[in-house]
Symmetry: C2
Subunit: 158 residues, 2 copies
């Protein structure tokens, strides 16, 4: 059984850093279109996408945002965190087969009473190219939490 463990506010130090990686599959493009409602063919139709300036299908930019949010929610600070704000700059396309790595770094402890924390967010692909960056503001958990990672059900497309 896999577990997620958080880092409570009192244990967070400026400069503390953590990484979270995720690969993009062709199925993810379909699933993201489904849940967001963004059915643009640049994400779904290889033939159409080949004739765009991207030269092939690319991820929805906010897929990268969703992986940043997963890093915040599962790793730093992890379970019990409440997401307050996120700024994102989309720099380069992400393509099926790419693996992106989110690096989060605690940039400031903003408010000890409210437990507000600022996180620097940098996302690189497997070639070390910066694909997105930004800053998050979160309400960090007060208490240590260790949770079993739920198993997701099977998802079938088509």
């Amino acid at each position: 059984m896999a577990y997620m463990e958080n880092i409570p506010y009192d244990e967070l130090e400026v400069g503390r850093s953590a990484c979270f990686s995720k690969s993009l599959t062709e199925d993810d493009l379909v699933l993201f279109a489904k849940i967001s409602g963004d059915v643009n063919p640049v994400h779904l139709d290889e033939e159409f996408a080949r004739d765009t300036l991207f030269g092939g299908r690319i991820a929805h930019g906010m897929w990268t945002g969703s992986v940043i949010s997963a890093a915040v929610a599962t790793v730093l600070p992890g379970p019990g965190t409440i997401y307050l704000e996120q700024n994102l700059q989309f720099r380069r396309p992400v393509r099926p087969g790419d693996e992106i790595t989110v690096q989060l770094t605690v940039s400031a402890k903003l408010d000890d009473a409210k437990r507000h924390v600022a996180l620097d967010c940098q996302v690189h692909n497997q070639e070390g190219v910066l694909v997105a960056g930004g800053d998050a503001r979160v309400l960090a958990p007060a208490e240590k939490v260790r949770l079993e990672k739920p198993e997701l059900p099977m998802i079938t497309i088509g």
Copy 2:
């Protein structure tokens, strides 16, 4: 057949506004966990979530972000838009069964040569409660485009 039509840069006027609505299903919680990697039980396990301060399962905050991105990409400016930046403030939880409506408003035409446009983004639930807000910066399309909306394949969970 449904179509998506964009609004090219030259036709965009400050104050122009458009809406895009999407309902959150229980399946969406599973699919968002799958594609993002955020498997926190507050999104997946009703029994666990009932004992949190939210009192039940809630959407991943970035699901709302993904619906904003869909509004930008399919409605205003629509197909051909390149997403540059997004700032998000998460205000209130969104729950399965909720329908959210993204209202986008052109707040500035920032650069005629680069076709950069700023959009104000406000997201309300079916009760009129503001659940998220923010600003987007996009590169608007130069040319009118009208595209068939691709049909998504069937997605089965479990």
